[in-house]
Amino acid sequence: MVRLRLRTIVIHLFAWGLAIGWLFPFVGLTMAAFRPLPEIVGGWWNFDPFTPSFTKFVSAFNSISFGFRNSFLIAVPATIIPMFVATLAGYGFARFSFPIRDYVFLTVVLLMTIPQQMVAIPIFRIMVSLNLENTLVSLVLLHSAWGLPWIVLFMRNFFSALPKDVEEAARVDGASDLKVFFKIVLPMALPALAAVAVLQFMWVWNDFFFSLLLCPANPSCMTATVALIHTIGKFEFDPGLLAAGSLLVMLVPVGLYVLLQKFYIRGMIGWTVKG
């Protein structure tokens, strides 16, 4: 009995200790952002003197605020467009059969595993030839297309697990495929779509490579992640300013995660583990 209790105590201490230790890098970043540089050189864990201030957040926000605007203008449509388009296709793959369906589907799924670098050069050329380089539209299009394979897979798996009875009853009553889709299927898919929205928005917001590829230096389309490196990282290097900017950029995905944890985890699990 005593041994059992000891084991429980040790496990709790370890788990909680690990969780706190896990947050240390964030604490370091926060300290660097809130305190003047001389206080953190030598170690942020020395609290003498301790003079926190928000000034670095203000100046970091002022130098990359355009990046936040651009990231929102890209991430919102680049979430809505692929969600809608992929839900249609995912439903099609789950319900309609045609001769080469499974091969088409498998190809789409395999595209999910390709690294972003594999499309970089032709994408750059396409965008130049469409006169879209250094525009928000180019990033919206690219992210929409890039998100499709995983959302198609996710929605297809979701629809495959959904019972067909209601849809079939509606068809017997003479409803068309489109009507069935919009009136019956889409409302049932809302929880899955919420999970997709959270994940896709976060991935677009967090993206760095595509943003760097299509808009490396132009303030009219530069995303928050690129602005962080380009504006704060490059010129007057100030670890405090970089830390404050990093925390501001992180705030969006971390905040989304905290608020919509249920959907985020569901998306993550549904996407990888079936069931």
Binding site: H12, A15, W16, L18, A19, I20, W22, L23, F24, P25, G28, L29, A32, V41, G43, W44, V85, L88, A89, G92, F96, S97, F98, P99, F105, L106, V109, L111, P115, Q116, Q117, V119, A120, I121, P122, L141, S144, A145, W146, L148, S176, L178, F181, N206, F208, F209, P239, A243, S246, P253, Y257, V258, Q261, Y264, I265, M268, I269, T272, V273, G275
Partner: protein
Amino acid sequence: MRRSRIEGVARLLGRLRDRTSQFVGKRGSPRARRAGLRLAFFSPALFLIVLFVGYPVIATIGVSFFDANGQFVGFANYGNVLGSPDTININGFPKPPPFGTLINNAIWIAIHLPLSMFLGMWLALVLREVRGAAWVKAAIFIGMVTPLIIGGIMMLYVFDGAIGIVPKFFASIGIRSLASGWLRPTTLLFGLIFGSVWLWTGFSLIVYSAGLTTIPKEYWEAAKIDGASTLRTFTNVTFPLLKPMTIVVVTMSILWELKIFDLVFGATSPNGGVGGAADVLALQMYRQAFVQFDFGTAAAVATFLSLLTLVATSITIRYMVKR
């Protein structure tokens, strides 16, 4: 016997006719209209995927066969990439870094995969008995929602000699060799790999946790009653039960490790650190294409990297598509 076979063939033919007629039914017939409508479900997605993913993939393969002057060179770019010290640099091993991008990616997998996988698995098992487990999971999972580029930037605040806590920690316990900043060639790669374990462990933790909720506790209780040792319980009960989750974790982790880019970019520069000590394939491609403008070599690196990801996925893809 024979009759049932004939019936089977007839059924098969009938089904085939039903299927094809969905698409090639008479013009204007309800069936043909229905087939056309059904195409509308697929066409927007296929259009976007073909134009912005499928075509670029094929075009990149094409580019990889040409040199900088547009001359067809066959597989020469691949030969150059694999023969370059940028990619593989282990002559005279053991030697100090850089080891080359391919070797660095391999080291990344060799260290990061087992560490993040087993740590996440072990935590998922242990956290079943811990109060406030949701908070512990949330703390560990924050790394998964942090932009990787910021994950890279944070390495400065963890490993820097002046403001980082890791060198300070080793100084305080008297290990001199690890007490100065870790962002120098000999330790950079390992620092970043440990940093990436910190960012990615949340993934295996969440996948195993979700998987464990579907497995009845009776399995472990039975093992306990039989008096099985902890090790034996793990190898004979826990590990086999967790196999479906392990397949997912291993696949996704290898893909993540092969594609790693932002983390190294954020922590160092497009050069992959001092002398390329933490250089990786994805970064090598970026540099070849957009710093040196050698598209042929860059495309060869990208194609090679994609082949590696396809090999990693091909084994497990069938588990991920629900039947």
